[in-house]
Amino acid sequence: MTTGHYQLRLYIAGMTPAARRAIENLETLARELGRQGEQVEIQVVDIIERPQLAEDERILATPVVIRKLPPPIRRVVGDLSERERVLVGLDIRPL
């Protein structure tokens, strides 16, 4: 049994309703995964405050969650309301 350490970064563009939902959905998901023994670290970045980061990450659409670690990098766009889609998108397979 391998235990992953996930580092997820959520980019939002201002605290919009979609951004708020994305944060909630991602935190819920992290708690679930935590209960299953996965370590999930979440970082929220507002690109309006740090536009250069949006440039560096080549972000077009927000909210977007990027799996920074472990590689490979995975990205999921939207309010992250579809749990299964998010898990597939981020390639996280809870055991």
Partner: protein, 558 residues
């Protein structure tokens, strides 16, 4: 910063700026639409890089091509985009959608605006290009809120006060869906490709221009490794510079036929004639002479290859090759072969004009100009030739065109461009007793006292020689016939001279006789007059005697 018009941002593409009366609307968005390969990216890059050169920094947003490809592209047209980036004058924002990204609901496009805004502020850019914006829709097509988000981006672009150029593919739905043409853009330019007679022509049309007139007709343009070139076709006006200077043809006899000093500089000469009448030789002789005078000549050969032309002309004493040597800047003669069939008429026109602009020649030779027209029917060929001649004239450049007349043409020109020709010279063959002679006539020469006589010309070691024909008792004669006719006539002359002196003698004798008769008659008249005078005098004397006697008698009676 050198901006001629504060209302416009010049694209740096001459013809387009002319069409747009200065350039794109300053501080406003312009929409550039066209299918793949119509030249959207090249126009955008030129607009942006030209601006940077003029001191207006730029931001380029790409949704389709990689920044590396765009930098290479720009470098191909002579713009050092990589250096502009290093100097902080240009920023390229890579907005190519990540195809591996998983897309869910409620996508927002604020990031697009935030990134553009950030780049505009960092560079202090006044120009913005958003290339292939429609790709964005495809990337998030499943998303329900996308339309609203895209509309928000367009609204933002409309308000962001940069001179921006948004390019999209030829998608009617896309432009109407977001009100791009009606609401967002102040100026709309459409590009397309037209296939006619299997020849492709690129066309540009200014569909809309808020607050300014625009040409609605389609303007053809050239797009290749040298970038974009277009001619303000609808805008051309007659403003050819008139010159009093003469441009010697270098053919003494021809200059003499044209009033002594040759045609005016900046005029257009046309040599018309059937095959083998010496049209190309005339053009080559003028070319060599101009080169020897230190002038620059652009010789466009539509039928002969450069090698053929050089060899054929050398055989009759015109050394073209000598003037083609050296670097492009030093060379006096630029020989440019053009295969008439390969390209469309418009493309020919533009290529010729581009060469003229590049080489800045004093003389342009189009040999033969008729090859552009022969394979096509209708007015388009004539129209194109008229425009070509007009444009050359407008540039104040002397031009020599040759026209091949078909054997059944009976010497009538089919080009119908004579209204644009200043000096029209016809060359003819004269066949007699198995010999061919070449004849030359000046049909017209604007503003020059011309010789209306048909003259003969020959190729000699010293080049072309124009001679007066022999005009004898049985008409004009040329060549060896001329010589034969001449000796034949000499005998006649001798005979006539003898006859003439005889007749003169007879006339002299007659004069003598007449004079003698006259003297005799006068003597007779004098004698008779004298007799009558004597008679009168006698009668008067007798009357007087009688009168005297009567008065003596009457006195004695008193």
């Amino acid at each position: 910063m050198t901006t001629a018009n504060p209302e416009t941002a010049a694209t740096g593409i001459q013809g387009l700026d002319f069409l747009l009366q200065g350039g794109l609307p300053r501080g406003r968005p312009t929409l550039l639409r066209g299918g793949p390969g119509t030249g959207k990216t090249v126009i955008s890059l030129t607009f942006l890089c030209h601006g940077i050169r003029q001191g207006e920094n730029g931001v380029l947003v790409t949704f389709d091509e990689s920044p590396e490809a765009l930098i290479r592209h720009a470098a191909g047209f002579g713009f050092a985009a990589d250096r502009f980036i290093e100097e902080g004058r240009l920023r390229i924002l890579d907005m190519r959608p990540d195809r591996n990204e998983v897309v869910g609901d409620y996508v927002e496009l604020t990031a697009v605006m935030a990134r553009i805004d950030h780049a505009l502020q960092k560079t202090g850019a006044q120009r913005l290009v958003v290339d292939a914006m429609d790709v964005l829709e495809g990337a998030f097509s499943a998303e329900i809120s996308l339309r609203g988000e895209l509309a928000r981006v367009f609204d933002w672009l409309r308000e962001c006060r940069t001179s921006s150029l948004i390019t999209i593919g030829e998608q009617e739905e896309f432009t109407t869906r977001y009100g791009l043409e009606d609401y967002v853009a102040d100026c709309v330019i459409a590009l397309k490709q037209d296939l006619d007679h299997r020849v492709m022509t690129r066309l540009l049309r200014v569909v809309k221009r808020r607050g300014g007139g625009h040409g609605t007709s389609e303007a053809p343009f050239l797009l290749d490794g040298d970038g974009i070139f277009m001619i303000p076709v609808t805008g051309s006006v007659l403003r050819a510079r008139v010159s009093d200077e003469h441009f010697s043809t270098g053919i003494p006899g021809l200059d003499a036929m044209l009033g002594g000093q040759g045609p005016y500089r900046g005029s257009t000469l046309l040599f018309s004639g059937q095959a083998g009448t010496g049209k190309t030789s005339m053009a080559a002789a003028m070319t060599v002479n101009a080169c020897e005078q230190g002038r620059k000549v652009l010789y466009i050969s539509f039928e002969e290859s450069v090698d053929e032309l050089v060899r054929n002309q050398l055989s009759i004493g015109a050394d073209l090759r000598r003037h083609t040597e050296g670097s492009e800047a030093d060379r006096r003669l630029i020989l440019q072969p053009v295969r008439a069939v390969e390209l469309g008429l418009e493309e020919h026109l533009m290529r010729i004009m581009r060469s003229i602009r590049r080489h800045q020649p004093d003389l342009v030779v189009l040999d033969p100009i008729s090859s552009l027209a022969t394979r096509r029917t209708g007015d388009s060929a004539k129209d194109m030739l008229l425009r070509l001649i007009h444009l050359i004239k407008e540039a104040g450049i002397t031009a020599v065109a040759t026209e091949l007349l078909t054997d059944d043409s009976q010497g009538v020109s089919h080009l119908d461009v004579s209204s644009m020709i200043d000096v029209w010279i016809k060359l003819r063959r004269h066949e007699n007793n198995g010999e061919m002679n070449r004849l030359i006539t000046v049909v017209k020469a604007r503003g020059l006292p011309i010789s209306s006589q048909v003259k003969e010309f020959r190729f000699t070691d010293q080049g072309l020689v124009i001679e007066d024909p022999y005009i004898g008792e049985s008409g004009i004669a040329y060549g060896t016939v001329r010589e034969a006719r001449q000796s034949e006539d000499e005998q006649v002359i001798e005979q006539l001279h003898t006859e003439l002196s005889r007749a003169m003698q007879r006339r002299h004798e007659l004069d003598e006789i007449n004079a003698a008769a006259e003297r005799l008659a006068r003597a007779e008249r004098d004698t008779r007059a004298l007799d009558i005078e004597r008679e009168i005098a006698g009668i008067e004397r007798r009357l007087a005697n009688i009168q005297r006697a009567r008065s003596a008698i009457s006195r004695s009676r008193q």
